[in-house]
Structure formats: C-alpha cells, structure tokens
C-alpha cells in the first residue's frame, strides 16, 4: 500500500499546471545490438553523451567543459587521450608531504603488543626504547612507543588517502588514478595488517607508475613488495615449513581465480616463495630459508623460484581471462558472458599482458556504449565522493566532511579493503542503510556540519578520551585506566584487558595517541566551495523547470522518474516563492543546494 503524503501531493498537483512537457533527460546510449560487440565505434557514432559516459568510467566523471573537450575529439583520440596519458604533464601535482614520523628502531615492527613486551623483557629494549632499570612500569615507554606508531601510521595513512583523493579529483590523467584504484582493490593490502603507511604509499606509487603497463611485471613487483609480504605473512614462509597464505592468494585472488589449480600446486608454489622477505622497505631473499629443491607446479617440474612460478601462472590462458574479466567488471558492467570474457582475455594475451591495449579495446568497443553498459554501474563510495566533487567544480577535496570517514561510512576506506578479496563492488555497495547514508553524505557536503570536529585532532576512541580526562584530573594511572563498565556483571574481556604490572596498556594507548597527534601534520579542514547560484545563472535559465533539468543533466547519468522531477520542480517553486528565476536570482543559493541534496538522494544518483 502506497503511503499518501498530503504535502507532497499538493506540491505535485500545483506543479503539474506550471510544467512544460518533459524533455528527454536520459543520456543516449548506442543500440541494444551493440551489447557484446567489440567492434570499435566510429566518429559518426560519437556524441557528447557517449563522451560523458567514457569520462565517468575511465575517470571520475567530468564538468561540462571537460566533457565538451572530449566530445570535440574523435572517439579514438578521446580514448588515446585518456589511456595513453604518459604525454600529459602532471608536474604541477605535488608529491606527498611527509610528516616525518618514522623513528629508527621501529623496524622490524613486532606483530602484537605482547610480542613487543616479550621482546623488551628479553633484550632490555624494543622499538629503539630501553626498559627502565628500576621503578614502577619499567616497560611503559616501550608500550607507549608501540601505540604511538600504531596511531601515527593510521593518521599518516589517512593523509596519504587525502593526497590520493586530490589526485583523483585534479589530475589531468584521471585513468591513471582510476587504474591505481583498481589495483588497490585487486591487491587489497590494508593498513590494519601492514601498519606502516610508508609501505602503502610505495604501493600506491607502484600502481600509479605501472597501472596500465605490463601485468606480469606488476605481479612480480607486488610479490616482492614489502607491504604485500607483510600483508600475506610471506615473511614467515621458510624452507621446510612453507606458509601457504601468500601462494594461495597469488593464484586465487591475483591471477587465476579459484578452481584452476590443486592444493598440491599451492604447497609447491609456497616452497618457491620461501625465504622471500623484506628489511624495512627493501625486498630480500634469505638464501638459507629458500627451498631451491625441485617442485612440480601446474604440470611443470623444476627448481623454480617465485618469479618462475609467476611466469608459469602467466602461461595459463585462464590468467589473462581472469584479469581481463575483472577489469571489464570494474570499468563496464558486472555481468559478462564467458564468450566475451574469452575474447577480452585473448586481447590481453596477444599484447603479452600489456594493460593499455585491452583498455583501449574496451573503451572503443560498441559494447561499452550499449544500453547494457551505460548508466548501469553502481558507483563505489570513492567514485561517488570524487565525482560529486568534480561535478560541483571543486578543485580540492574538502576537509569537512572528512573524506576517509565519509567513504568508510559508505563501505570503502582507502588503504583498508575489508579482506584480501578487496571490495566486492557492484550491488554489494548498496544496502538500505548505505543508500540512506549516501544521501546524508551529499547533505554534509552541501550543508557542512557547523559542529564538525576534525577526526585526526581528537582521541581515537571513547576509552582514550576517558583515560585522558582522568589523567588530566590528576588521577593515578591505575585508577585512571579502570574500564568504565555498566552495572551488573563485568565481561571477561574487560576484566583481563589490563593487568597493570610492568606496563599499563590503556595508558600506553592514550599516551601513544597523544604523541601521534603531536607529530602527524593536520589535514586542512576547509569546507566545499560550492557556488550553485553562479553555476546555474551562467546557463541563463528562465524557469525553475529549466534549473531542475540543468541540475539533473549535470549531476545524473540516469534521470529520476517524471513524478520525482515534478516534485523537485514543485519543491523549488515553493522554496523560491516563484517559478521565475529572474525574480529569485538574488537568493538562489540555499534553495538550489536543497534541490541538489534531493537530487543526490535519489536512487538514480548512484548510477554511473
């Protein structure tokens, strides 16, 4: 049963009278017969809508001017401009501005707090900090340093994410950043496991420098990458006792997909990777831990090392199919026929795993512009945020709302994919809760919260805040760190969390946070510089209908239903007190932001 909304109904009724017939707001696609057809489109097929579609997918959408520029080229030129970006100058983009927070002695960083304190007890020092010779809580400075680095790495990683998001927004090579995002999701290394922003930054730079290059080379580079080696526990994979995690994920997640190798292949491959490790930020092979015996892997026998194992994987036809299919799903659409996947795999094989020819083939194909592909992709949270900012004409990522917290609330935090499978993408981006949250994000951009608190300048948790307050009140450490429990029984975990003998974990967590906050540079917290009135008036609209249609065209790839459009016009009429824009031109900004918030809250706004 449909709910009757009296206000909405009245508004809608009033609007019908004033409304001119709806123009076609839908973006055009090619004919349905183009689906699955890899034939390149021609210059006579090309138009502004297809150029806009290309920029949505090969980048993060565009302003009208950016779309016009591509529309004026031939499709081949437009695609070459995006894919063959090496000639496009980006020297104006600044390198990451390091806070300088990594202390000598932190490497190798132990896997847990107990591992650190055990080490300190054994050696009299850990993390470059000596144990106090006498007195209470002799290990406390070591524990403080442990928590300092945990927190500092998180904060600095958030700054790296900001730096990257700004590149997505402003780089004249949008595909370079989009490909980096693809590889980041593909390799899915995350900060909570790696706990070292430096390794994640190095990976991002690898994705940016080799993202459209050779996949085999990228795979080898990733297999030797300290971030990856940490992430998949490769450092503990040694001769005589291979750890399978790394070998399994290389095959299952990074190259072939499940079902194309046996458990024995995994064990043999794991042997080939034994001894692969890193020292700080450098890849090393520990020869005495490497098993150089004979292995039988995917039907081949030899005393393979890891690189040779990767080369054997690259010889498998399924590898090219798997990567091509994954790229296609990322850039085009989720459902992909096995035939089409094989064709795309053949393109990748023929180019010896060079990525850019495959991307060109995809972006030029009729299939890419068919109705099955156009306007059917659900934007990832990062794409949603960056493309929203782009279409608003912003030139920096706003500091409020916080980019990382906003996208995390929508299900995607950069440098924190949930599992080694990365983000599932597609429809998994949307749940009832997340759909509402997407509208809330738009509101936070258009109407910044006046009570916004910078998340990198406050305690990371309620517990740290509580301890900090009590310490400042002059309480002793033991009292200050007693957990706050509700009445009734205390859970076992709260009883045993802190023994408060040689050190106090909760105090360390507080002190570490405090040190990190001192040393990590703050993220600028400017709000979005939005000028909707100026943007809209430049189009010289006469009526509210024209304004709503302009906003729909500028911000949406798939327009809402006519009913919704009528409601939007009626709403704007109501807010302005007129449907005549010339009468309302001096007070447009806030009503326009409200309308745009409503547009961005529509289900269709999520489509690319």
């Amino acid at each position: 049963m449909r709910r009757v909304n009296p206000v909405g109904a009245l508004l809608a009724a009033a609007a019908v009278l004033a409304l001119t017939p709806a123009p076609t707001l839908a973006q055009t696609a090619g004919p349905a017969a183009w689906q699955n057809d890899l034939t390149p489109i021609t210059a006579k097929d090309w138009n502004r809508d297809l150029a806009a579609h290309l920029l949505e997918r090969a980048g993060f959408g565009g302003t009208p001017a950016e779309i016009d520029a591509l529309a004026k080229m031939t499709p081949a030129q437009a695609i070459a401009r995006l894919v063959r970006y090496e000639g496009t100058d980006i020297s104006h983009l600044l390198p990451f501005d390091e806070s300088g927070i990594h202390d000598p002695g932190l490497e190798p960083f132990p896997p847990s707090r107990p591992a650190v304190t055990d080490l300190a007890k054994k050696n009299g020092e850990a993390l470059g900090i000596k144990v106090k010779p006498t007195g209470n809580r002799r290990l406390q400075p070591v524990v403080d340093e442990f928590f300092y680095w945990l927190r500092a790495s998180v904060l600095e990683t958030n700054r790296v994410a900001y730096w990257w998001a700004n590149r997505m927004l402003t780089s004249p090579r949008p595909l370079q950043e989009k490909m980096a995002l693809f590889w980041h999701g593909h390799y899915a290394v995350n900060e909570p496991k790696v706990r070292d922003y430096r390794k994640l930054l190095a990976e991002l730079q690898l994705y940016e420098n080799h993202g459209t290059g050779n996949f085999r080379d990228l795979m080898v580079a990733m297999a030797e990458d300290p971030g990856m080696l940490t992430f998949l526990d490769a450092g503990v994979n040694v001769k005589g006792a291979p750890n399978e995690n790394f070998a399994r994920e290389i095959m299952e997640m990074f190259t072939m997909g499940v079902g194309h190798y046996s458990e024995k292949d995994i064990r043999e491959a794991a042997r080939a990777f034994t001894g692969w490790n890193y020292v700080d930020l450098k890849f090393v092979v520990n020869k005495d831990q490497h098993d150089d015996g004979v292995k039988t892997f995917l039907g081949k026998t030899g005393n393979f090392d890891g690189v040779q194992v990767i080369d054997i994987i690259m010889q498998q036809p399924v590898t090219a199919d798997y990567i091509a299919g994954k790229l296609y799903r990322f850039f085009v659409r989720q459902d992909l026929s096995p035939e089409l996947q094989k064709k795309l795999g053949a393109v990748l094989r023929d180019s010896h795993y060079e990525i850019s020819p495959l991307l060109e083939a995809i972006f030029l194909s009729r299939d890419f512009y068919s109705p099955a592909s156009v306007g059917t992709q659900i934007k990832s949270p990062v794409e949603l945020a960056v493309s929203t900012y782009k279409k608003l004409g912003l030139i920096t990522i706003p500091g409020a709302p916080d980019f990382n917290n906003a996208t995390a609330a929508l299900g995607q935090r950069l440098f924190s994919p949930p599992t080694v499978a990365g983000w599932a993408g597609g429809r998994s981006w949307i749940t009832p809760g997340l759909l509402l949250e997407r509208g809330n994000f738009a509101r936070d951009v258009l109407f910044p919260d006046i009570n916004f608190v910078a998340p990198d300048r406050v305690a990371a948790s309620e517990e740290v805040r509580r301890v900090a307050d009590r310490i400042r009140q002059g309480m002793d450490i033991t009292k200050a760190t007693i957990p706050d429990t509700k009445s009734g029984e205390m859970a076992e975990s709260n009883m045993s969390a802190d023994r408060d003998e040689d050190f106090n974990t909760r105090y360390g967590s507080f002190r570490g946070s405090q040190l990190a906050l001192e040393r990590v540079k703050p993220i600028p917290r400017d709000t979005a510089q939005v000028h909707l009135a100026k943007m809209v008036l430049a189009e010289k609209p006469k009526t509210t209908t024209q304004v709503v249609d302009y906003l729909i065209r500028r911000f949406m790839r798939v327009p809402p239903s006519d009913d919704v459009r009528r409601e939007l016009v009626a709403f704007l009429d109501h807010e302005l007190g007129t449907s005549d824009i010339s009468a309302a031109s001096t007070y447009l900004e806030e009503p326009l932001r409200l309308v745009l918030h409503l547009i961005m809250s529509q289900p269709e706004y999520q489509l690319s």
């Binding site: 909405g8 059917t376 009832p432 509700k486 975990s493 009913d563």
Partner: protein, 406 residues
C-alpha cells in the same frame, strides 16, 4: 473535538484531516497482518546466525586435551591441560571462554562436532559461499537464510530478514525478500531538513524499469523507508545494563530490535573481516577473539532474559572452515576443513552432538575428516527450531536434524 484511540475505533473516522493518518495506519496494519501470517508458519521463533569469519581454529577453541595426538600436532601452540576449562575428561574450552563454559554447564549450549562437507575448499571465499548458500561446489545464487525466508514467509512481509553488517551477506540473498541491511543504527536514517521531508518520504512508482541496476536501487530505497524509522526507534529506546564486553559484535543491536518487537524472524550477523584467520602468532590473538565472541554471546542470552524473550531465540554460530591440525612454523595455523558449530539458547538441549573427528586419521593435507554435514545443523534450525518440517527442498537434499530442542 479531541479523539482518543478508542473513540476513533468506536466512532469510525470522519473528516478529511484524518485521511492521511488513516492511510498510514491501514498500511501499518496491513503489514502487521502479513507478518502475523508469517508468524504462523515460523511459530514466532527467532533464529540468529553468527558467522565467525576467517576460519576459527576449533581445536584451540574446544581443546581435546585428553588426546595425545593433539599435542603431537601442536607442540608449540597446543593449549596445556591445566590452562583449559574442562567440560569433560576429554575436552575443555579455551581459557578465554568463561561465558561458553558457563552456558555449557547450564545446559544451554549445544556443541556439534566435525561439521564440514565433501571436497572441502580451503579458500575463505569459496568455502564461505558454500556455507552461505548451503550448496557446496555449486553456483547457487541465493543464500540459505534468504531461501528460508522465501519458504516460511513467501508473502515477503517487510523487515522479516535483517542482516547487520557493512554489506549484505550472500547468506541472506533472497528471491522475494529485500533484507534489511544496516550497520550503525544511528546512521540508518535519512538526514533531512524540515522542508525536504515530504519529497524525501514520497515513494513515487517509477513503473517498470528496464535498467536492472536502477530497479535494484528503487527496491532498496523502498526497503530503507520501511525499516529505518523502526530500527532507529528501537535503538534509541534500548538501554541495557548487560555488559557485552569489548567488541560486543552486533548482538546488542539484535537485542534492541527484539525488545522493540520488530517482526524479524531471521537475523544474520558476523564477527567481521576474516578476524579468525590466524596464520601467525595465534594464541594471544585467538584467545582474545574467543573471549570477545564468548562475552558477546553470553551477554546476549542474558539480555534476552531481561527482555523476556529468552525462550524465543536461538543463536547458531559457525565458521567457513577449521584450521590445519598441525601448527605451522609461524606459531599459527593454516586453512583446514571440519570444525565445530555452536547452538545456544534457553530452549536448546545442551550437550555434544555428532562424532569428534579423529586426530590420527587425517586427510592427505593433514586436515580433519568431517563427520557431520553442516547442513544437518541448518536442518535442525529449520525444522527443530523454526518448525518448518520439509527441509529437503530448501537444502537440496535430505539432512537428518539433531534433536537439540526440548
């Protein structure tokens, strides 16, 4: 004239000003009726599924301390007899699991041994998908909880199926139901300014839509509108004195919805992000994970007692696989096969079900050979608990339920 609710019922409703609220009320009553019809089929009982993602190490959860083979396989990470919490002369819980020990001794916890399936997958994602769909080595696209909802409530009343997580689980994917999926109840709301409310609340019918992604978004938007107010109200009214521990999982949220009388019969939650994937230095972290899970689950049952619904709710916990029997060189364990399942609740006949797998006769990869098809436990939930007797169509095969409800 001032009407109270009884006046309205007695005199009937006249006057234009009441029209809107009548429409609303009929809507709500209509839904309630559909939910009641579904009640009849599912006997009002509630099932909560708790996924322990990452592959929980069952052997260090319920430790077979009476078996020398256990210590031979695990010379370094094996948990000593004196450190476990014995429940009989053979098994003892990990010492972090005070809550589970108590539940077991109170007869409210069923342990099912050796759960698995033929040709086990050692991939988190494949194996989890098999457990999600109850269809190992197949491409089934709907989840078993989703299919269960389709079967016992084919009318698909709103809010029948709730999945609390950051993303929707395959387990709840359903042909007819749009599961209510949310993470933070405080954020499960549309923030709007006063003037915008009317437009944001209207649900114009877009008609038949040819773009399937758009159709999906429109359906989701409708489900969001149905559920968000209810969930938010439930959460804001929920003030429990029970301590769920450090992590709590999402069980307090489930308790809040149950307390508020949501018509939900099936809840799906997870200990998220592959937390139990303990390849290295596992003992400290594993014990901690178990403590959190044990605290949360025990607290949840206690909370249900406070709410007065303890007899109506059962929790079933599982992991996508167990771990390799021998420890690895990094003081951890690799992906394995058969594992324990747990069923807890006031109406559960506590004890041990199924046959513990042998620690000496392992498969060629040093894994436990499963003794219980995990779908037998699903069948026990479907028939024994929810009262839907014919499980063979739903589970694509005949699986003998355990008599674990009394």
């Amino acid at each position: 004239m001032k009407l109270n609710r009884r006046d309205v019922l007695r005199t009937g409703i006249t006057g234009l000003s009441m029209a809107a609220s009548t429409a609303l009320r009929v809507g709500v009553f209509g839904r309630a009726a559909a939910a009641l019809a579904a009640d009849a089929e599912s006997n009002g009982k509630i099932l909560v599924v708790l996924e322990l993602s990452g592959g929980n190490d069952g052997l260090n959860t319920l430790v077979p301390y009476g078996d020398d083979a256990y210590y031979k396989h695990r010379p370094k990470i094996g948990l000593a007899k004196k450190s476990v919490r014995p429940i009989d002369e053979h098994f003892g819980f990990n010492r972090g699991m005070v809550g589970f020990e108590r539940l077991y001794k109170d007869g409210k916890l069923a342990i099912v041994h050796g759960c698995g399936y033929d040709n086990p997958s050692f991939s988190h994602f494949s194996s989890m998908a098999y457990w999600h769909t109850a269809a190992p080595n197949s491409g089934e696209q709907y989840g078993w909880v989703g299919r269960l909802a389709d079967t016992i409530a084919p009318e698909a009343p709103p809010n029948f199926l709730v999945n609390i997580d950051s993303h929707q689980s395959l387990a709840v994917r359903s042909r007819r139901h749009v599961p209510v999926v949310f993470d933070d109840p405080n954020k499960f709301t549309r923030d709007s300014f006063f003037d915008e409310t009317a437009v944001l609340k209207s649900t114009p019918d877009a008609g038949k839509v040819s773009n399937p992604s758009r159709q999906f978004l429109l359906d989701t938007a409708r489900s969001a509108k149905d559920a968000s107010t209810l969930v938010q109200e439930a959460w804001s009214k929920y003030h429990s004195p029970v301590d769920y521990g450090i992590v709590g999982l999402d069980l307090p949220k489930v308790a809040a919805l149950i307390e508020a009388g949501m018509p939900t019969r099936l809840y799906y939650t997870a200990y998220r992000n592959n937390a139990f994937d303990t390849h290295v230095f596992q003992n400290d972290v594993h014990q901690r994970l178990l403590t959190y899970a044990s605290d949360a689950l025990t607290a949840f049952l206690q909370d249900l007692k406070r709410i007065g619904r303890a007899d109506d709710v059962v929790v079933m916990a599982f992991s996508e696989f167990g771990r390799r029997v021998p420890e690895n060189v990094s003081l951890g364990t690799d992906h394995g096969s058969a594992n324990l399942m747990f069923v807890a609740g006031n109406k559960v006949k506590g004890g041990q079900y199924g046959v513990p797998p042998s620690l000496t006769k392992l498969d060629e990869g040093d894994n436990l050979i499963h003794t219980t098809d995990f779908r037998r436990v699903y069948a026990s939930m479907i028939s024994g608990w929810l009262g839907h007797q014919d499980t063979s169509e739903l589970l694509n095969g005949t699986f003998q339920p355990f008599p674990m409800f009394g």
